[in-house]
Amino acid sequence: MDYDVVVIGAGNGGLTAACSLAQRGVKTLLLERHNVPGGCATSFCRGRFEFEVALHQLSGLGPAEKPGPLRHTLSKLGVVDQLEWVEMDNLYRLLVRDDLDITLKADREAAIQTLQERFPAEKDNITAYFDLVYQFCIELITIYSSRDPEATPEKYPAYFEYALMDTQKVLDKFFTDPLLKLAVSIYWGYTGLPPAKQPFSDMAMLLFSYLELKPYHLKGGSQALSAAILEKFLQSGGEVRFNCGASKILVEDGRVTGVVTEHGETISTSYIISNASTISVYTEMIEPEHVPAEQLKKLGGSTIGPSSITLYIGLDCEPQEIGINETTNFLCASTDMEDAFTACWEIESHNDYTLVSCYNISDPDISPPGTSQVCIVDLKYGESWLNIPPHQYFELKEKVAGQILDRVEHYFPGFREHIEEIEVATPITHMRFLGTPGGAIYGFDQYAKDNNMFTPPRALIKGLYFAGAWAGMGGFQPTLTSGTTAARQVLKDIKRQAGVEI
């Protein structure tokens, strides 16, 4: 065998998978079709700005004195200490037309207090809701981290009652004011489905983890993290090839035997961890006769998640000058979250919820003095972009960007006048750079049925593993973690095979 393991794709999941393996002495090759590591977790330069592509608020890290699960994962890879982490004080500022302007601190008590001041009529319900979120998450963590063999509904009532309930039902149970419901659940944009479609466990864990462990960014952006993991991988003897996509995965008798690169080179290996989507792997990379029908059927049960319209903007003024005082801002045209979700299927941007991140608030070094870096995201499914006439693409893209900027201008007057650089990425752009079906940024839609509980990423083909958004959930913490999980499974199998041979 040329390599023990070949990892396809150097996104978050691929990087942590490759790095964990190399650090355990496994002979690992990492293949990446782009010329930089990171996938979404990267940056690019325009004029005097270096734009962060994807990272807005890192979850799960936690301060050094109160480490979260992600800090443990990254510490094991040896990349935590050399990176400079930037802690954010606030969760977000939420602006709903002229009806609501609220900023929540990344602190349970403070957040509760702010909400209670704004929604005095629902004071007690607010406390009760946060109590539930906390109780639920602590139960969940206890069950899964301590592997409690006697986990029962009597012992863990919140978990068994709410884990698979949709978030909307829980919100309706606790609150009446639609503004309040929105104010505690706007983070749904970070997983892609609105509360009526999202399992409560996703919502609760998101809120809990940001409140308890704080949102983070890091100096140099997500690219600094990708670069650090890649460096560790190389230092541990790993090999990487950029501009070298994998085009085929070779399978014999139900077992992985190798991979063929886009340049036509065949590389033999018994294990592949794919950071490329399950859809590409099963429908394009493996010869159809080697793909079990059962596998395709499983695949067909999940739908492709959203992509986005992303605006990368460099302003020639300080953020405060135009009223941007928070790193994370959500702009909502109404409290109708289902409506906002429907808008994700439309090309144009009318009722979308818009995320406006300005990194300078928490990290003044992110752009040159006197400037600001702003990243604006509207979730959009890629499907609608597939069939537009190509000659209308540029016009359409500027039109949509213009619609988004009109809304931004409403909340931050003077914004447009200060634009020095702007890049607009559409789902087509994300398809191009990430190579994902539909340009999806979070993998599959995360309905309850798509949870690992029902849909584990296990492959029927031996030696084939997955890491990244398509192997579970999208987002930084889940994908970074999924790589080390996949690496652990591969190692276990390598050891088992060796044991059998002896």
Binding site: P390, A448, K449, F454
Partner: protein, 386 residues
């Protein structure tokens, strides 16, 4: 109790398991959709274009336009101002050069490249002298960020062109005038001698026909008695031709020296940076004359470059690493050849290179030793990861 048994006790578990079964039973046939996303991207960003020279015509004594049609019949859309990187094989060496598309994106039947002869130019000579109608060439898809954006450039545009820098601006002028777009363009085209001006006749005609397009030719080395505008494009000349600069967006394209001269002039006049767009810098004609060049390294100094698989090649101090690699027959992706698009990135394992200040290298790349090989000149023997 196993985890899956435990999970079955969760409220709603059976209902969701059933839902999943139904979703799978009537599931999506991803197999039948395979390739559709790649195909969508290919419409905009084909990896390579195959182009046939359909016409070749002289614009003036040292400039020729190649009219290229797509052998597949399909051309991706482009934005007026973008370029393609054209691949050539000359004397066994595979290399490439970026050329702006000078034709209008309002039509998609051909791309025009307007190429000016560069003294001793490796590729421009070849394109002008060797390439014939009917020849087939390969290129990248359209690339680059020197284009008009309706989002923030406004409707009052001033174009400052030097020499062959007129080409991307010509595409924009053709687009605006052909499609009657509501934008005003004032072009100041700087040349040494009037006969060097490319597209002169066409520019005059377009200016005559379209009230939203003004054309000024500025000649820096006029013959005695020349009656037009003379001098370099400096603050005074701009003020005289344009008047008030406020609210106007400037597009500057020309040789490297033009940027270092014109942009400070604009800044002197109070034009904010956000209203000045420039094309990429290209490569320095003589890198050893760059201010930061270490004097102890002579232009003709030769070094060795060791590659990952043990191969060793030679490289001159005054040539970009990319050129040395190409001379040795090694293919590295590249596009802008100006240090700005990052496509030619390679990792330096040991040794030192000179990088012109105009190279746009990301912080993390600088920290972990990545360089843009088209804008990295060897100062010592090198080892690279490739």
């Amino acid at each position: 109790m196993s985890i899956s048994e435990m999970q079955k006790m969760i409220n709603g578990h059976a209902r969701i398991a059933e839902e999943l079964e139904i979703c799978r039973k009537y599931g999506i046939d991803y197999y039948s959709q395979r390739g559709k996303w790649t195909q969508a991207v290919e419409k905009y960003h084909p990896r390579r274009l195959e182009l046939r020279v359909s016409e070749k015509f002289a614009e003036n004594a040292d400039t020729t336009t190649l009219r290229l049609v797509s052998t597949s019949g399909y051309f991706p859309p482009f934005r007026a101002g973008q370029y393609i990187n054209l691949f050539v094989e000359i004397d066994g060496i595979c290399t490439s050069r970026p050329y702006s598309i000078s034709s209008s994106p309002a039509q998609n039947a051909y791309y025009d490249l307007t190429i000016r002869r560069v003294p001793n130019g490796f590729v421009s000579d070849y394109l002008l002298d060797e390439i014939k109608v009917g020849d087939v060439l390969a290129s990248t898809g359209p690339a680059g960020h020197f284009y008009y954006s309706s989002i923030h450039h406004g409707n009052e545009l001033v174009f400052l062109a030097g020499g062959s820098g007129i080409t991307p601006l010509m595409s924009m002028i053709r687009e605006v005038t052909d499609r009657n777009l509501h934008r005003n363009i004032h072009l100041i085209y700087g040349v040494r001698k009037p006969q060097e001006a490319i597209f002169h006749e066409e520019l005059l005609i377009r200016a005559q026909r379209h009230s939203n397009f003004i054309y000024d030719l500025a000649v820096s080395e006029p013959e005695p008695g020349y009656e037009g505008i003379t001098g370099f494009i400096d603050a005074d000349l701009i003020k005289k031709q344009i008047g008030d600069v406020s609210g106007k967006t400037f597009f500057v394209c020309g040789p490297r020296e033009m940027y270092s001269f014109c942009i400070p002039e604009l800044e002197k006049m109070g034009v904010p940076g956000r209203r000045i767009r420039r094309e990429v810098f290209g490569t320095p004609a003589e890198v050893t004359k760059e201010p930061a060049w270490p004097k102890e390294v002579k232009a003709d100094a030769e070094f060795t470059v060791k590659l990952t698989r043990g191969q060793v090649i030679n490289a001159r101090a005054d040539e970009p690493l990319l050129t040395a690699l190409e001379r040795a027959g090694i293919v590295v992706e590249n596009c802008c050849r100006s240090g700005e698009c990052s496509l030619c990135r390679v990792k330096l394992q040991s040794g030192k290179v000179f990088q012109p200040s105009t190279a746009l290298v990301r912080k993390s790349d600088q920290q972990s030793g990545y360089v843009h090989s088209c804008a990295a000149y060897p100062l010592t023997d090198l080892e690279i990861l490739l």
